[in-house]
Every structure is written in structure tokens, then in C-alpha cells.
Amino acid sequence: MSDTPPIVLEFDSVTKWYGSVAALLDVSFQVCTEVVGLVGKNGVGKSTLMKLAVGLLNPSQGAVRVCGSDATTREARARIGFCPDFDRLYEPLSGVKFVAWMLRYHGVAARAATMRAEEVLTELGLAEDMYRPIREYSKGMRQRVRLGQALAHRPQFVLLDEPMTGLDPVARAELADLIRGLPQRGVGVLVSSHVLHELEAVVDRVVLVHQGRLLADGKVEALRDQLPERPHRLRLKGARLRELASQLTNWPEVDGVSFLSDGLEVSLSGHGAFYERFSDLAGDWQGGIHELIPLDDDLAAVFGYLVE
């Protein structure tokens, strides 16, 4: 038996045209039971990709499959949980009633639907307010209701569009934990966010869309390593900076060193070799190296480099 995780979402050479405008061009990628980040500027085809993934659009070419079924079929929709980014809900209803109503269409009996809605909203931190009308909810509470309806039917693929919006820092951290825990329960997650550092903290890899094309697909570090024309930059703080700079400039993997007000900025051509060598140096450096911060190997930097 193979240990390959099951594919919950598959884009197979998907192209989507709106009239003569191509929103997506030949996009192929897969999501297994993992957390994948969807990154892209506004208007590059992210929304189209998400609507295709949840079966609200038909691809012009190619195929979108959820758990092996065409994304527009009922079989697929039974396995999809979608948390949209728009703020409208059934305002007069309570959170628990809204989630229970949605569950009814999954074939869940009324009483069981209510119990499941209470369970999921309690878990999402809405235990005290779930019987109040949604129109009285704060932005964060509304976001939890949207999450609740996406998770209540125990989907196998969850698509979260800007899920952190409106949440306070504590709730964000809790949601990040929840998202990170979903793959352990056999759920694949595609999460879109403009808050790249938060996204980076929860995803296993990213899918980067730009101008309708799939620009990159992989782990952030791997993507960063695929940009040799972009030297890595580091900020160093420590004692005897002039001496340190003169030493570093002699290293072949260092492209350049410049002085900052309180440290050095080092440009690297080969960062792997640099770190090996630098760990020896830092251990012996008189006065110590206080800080070494990579400046451009996070998701935001990689995203910036790739779309430039």
C-alpha cells in the first residue's frame, strides 16, 4: 500500500476565460492533506481559482477535481468547506441556527444539525454568543460563524479566503493552530491571505498566482533557493563590526557588505556555505555576534521577487 496522502484538490491544466480575457491560464497543482497557501495580488485570478475550486465556476479548459469528483458535482460539494471573504450572513438568524440550516442540506437531521452546530461554534469560541442574532455580532464573531459553516459538515477539503480578517491576535493564533491541525484529521486546506507572515506560519507550501498563471508552487525555502539572481541578505549585529566586515568580504560566498547605523547588511550568493562557515566564526568572535536576521527569505520577500 502506498503512503502517498490522498489528493483532495486537483487543478489539471485549468484555463478560464471571461469572454476574451483569460483569468487563469493552464494552471496545474494539487492539494493533499496539507495546508497550502494561495498567494497573489488582487486581480491576478485568485478569486477565479477559488470559485473553480468550490465548483461555482466551470473551467474553460482542463479539469478541477475535489476528492476525485468534478468540483461542480454534489459529491464534490459534500466534501468541500468554503469560508468566503464577504461579510454577509443571514443577519436575523442566530449563529447556531445559520450553521444548522446549512447542515440540513447535507442530509443531517434537524436535531443533530443543531447539536453539531453548537459543537463546532463552541469549539470556535462562540459558545456564549451563538444564540444571539448574527446582526449583533462583531466582525470576529461573524468570521467564526463563516468558519463554522465551512467546518460543520466535516469536509475533506477546506478553502479559507482571508480567514484571519477581523480576528484579534489571540483568536488569530488559535485559528492558526486549528488550521495547522486540520491535516492530521485528513483535511486538505487551501488558504488565501494577504497577511503573508501569518500565512507563512500556517502553510506547508504555497501556490503563487500571477497574471493568471501559476508562478510558483512549493515550500517557501525551496522557492527562495530557486532565485539565484537574488542574493540573500542578512542583517548582522555584534562587536567589532569593521573587522567583521573586512573578514566577510574575503569570503567567496559573500557578494558584498554594507554598513547600517547599528550593524551590517551582508549580501550572499551561497547562503548554505555561508551559514556553515559563519557558525564557526561566530563561536570564536570576541565580543560576540548579537543578531543575525535573514532579510529576504520569508514569504513576503519571495512573493515580491517573483512578481517583480
Binding site: L57, R74, R79, F82, W101, Y105, V120, E123, G186
Partner: protein, 299 residues
Amino acid sequence: MTTTTNSAAGNSGLARAVPRLSVLATILESARQTLVMLRYRRILWVAPIGLLLLFALAFVLAGTARSRSDGAHLYSVFAWWGLATVVMPWATLFLGVQAVHGELEDRTSQYLFLRPVHRVPLFLGKWLAIAAVSSALACCSAAALYVAVASREDLWPDGREPWLLVSFCIVLGLGATAYSAVAVFLAATFRRPLAWAAFFVVGLQMLAANLPVSAGLRQLTITDPLRRMTLDLIEPSRRLARALWPAERNEALSIENGTGAFLLEFGSPLCSLLILVVVCLTLGCWQYARTEYESRNRD
């Protein structure tokens, strides 16, 4: 948000069977949810006030009626020209448009479209709910009107005629059902359904339906078959028939009275209404069930 338990989401394998809600259960659930949402709309809270006003107005008008106007005549004229041609069409179209169009415009319909049920029963459930509410409101209005007129004993020298109330309830119920089909069709098809509804009521129902018998256009309306049914049911005097169908004057009685308006045969009023309902629901379902159905694609 607690993340210690293991139940917010999760599965038991990709081969898990997908629970199904039957078509009938989906229709009923959609109707139930539409009814509950209607409960929160202001128009339904306005309805009792409207009924009271209607009662008061009818009571006052009945009191000032000329001596030669009898109760049956007054009631029929009020019920036809007030309820069947103005209040019921507008109220039904407004409710129907609100129920379908509101969800599409604020995109809450997407929550429904992501469920593993077909959209056609969702749409039919909404129509069913609007038809039921509109019919009930129309019948309550007819009853309020009847009570107001019937309370003037002097207007009924030969005794009251409850059959009139039953007749108008039948006609108004059928009319509300047909208008609700038009409403959900307009709401599913157009971005500005209330403007189209206004055109439908004023242009088709108020103008075209009052053309003479020879004008074929009137057969495309709801008002025309409803009027023929009314005339068939209440068996009016010549004077009342003229009052209900001014365009025909002398011919109204001879042409329409007792012609079997409720026969289910091609060309009969009942058949005309049925065809209109089926066409509207078919077109509405076709629009609503398209995969790429979004408000921005309409019009």
C-alpha cells in the same frame, strides 16, 4: 477558540458516503427556511396593519354606498379592483423578489449553492413558500373585506353570500400562486426585478388585461384568466359583470358566464394560468441552476 478537541472538522476516509437530502425534502427545507426568513421581514409585520386598514376602509365605503348598490356588488368590486388587481399582485411580487433576489445580491446564496443539493429544488422551495404566504395573505384580506361589507346588514336584502368569499379566496389563491412564479422568475433573471415587476403589473396586468376579448395579448396576462374564473364562480348580474370587465360591457356575461373556466383544457383560464406558472418556473429554474450563476452575469 479552543483547538484541543478533534471535531471541528475531520473525516473518516475519502470513500465516505455522501448523505443525500431527497428532492422533496430539499424543497420543503428550502420552503421552511424561506418562511422563517420572511418572518423577519417588515412587510409581514405590516400585513396585520394593512388588513385592519382594509377592513376600516371597506367598512366606511360600505356605509356610504348608494342605496342601489347591494353587498354582493360592493364586495365583488372591492375584492376584484382592490385585491386581485392591486394589493395581491404587488405584495406577491415584492415578497417573491425579496426572497430570491436579496440572497443573490448580497451573495448569501453562495452558502446554499455550496451544499450538496441541486439548485432546482432550492428554487422551487422558495416559490412554494412565497405562494403559500401570498395566498394566505390574500385570503385573509378577502375575509377582512367580506366581514366589513357583511357587517352592513342593510346591503344584503336577500341574505349574505359567503360563496362570494370562497370564490374570491379561490381566485386570489390561484392568482398569488401565479404571481409568485412570475416574481421568482423575475428575481432569478434580472438585476432589477422590481422594475420589471412594475412593468409587468402596470403594463400587462392593468392595461393589457383590460383590453377587449378580441385582443389576444390579454391572454398572456394573469388578470384575464383570473377574471374569467371570477365571473364563472360568482355568476354575476349583468351590472356587476360590466363593473368587473368594463372593456366588454354587454358581452361579458354572455361570453364568460358559465363557460367552464376551471376545466383543464387548452385555452381555458385554468390552463392559461398553469402554462404561465410552468413557463416562469422552468425559465427561473434554468437561470438559477446554471453553475456560473452570479448577479453580475444577469441582465
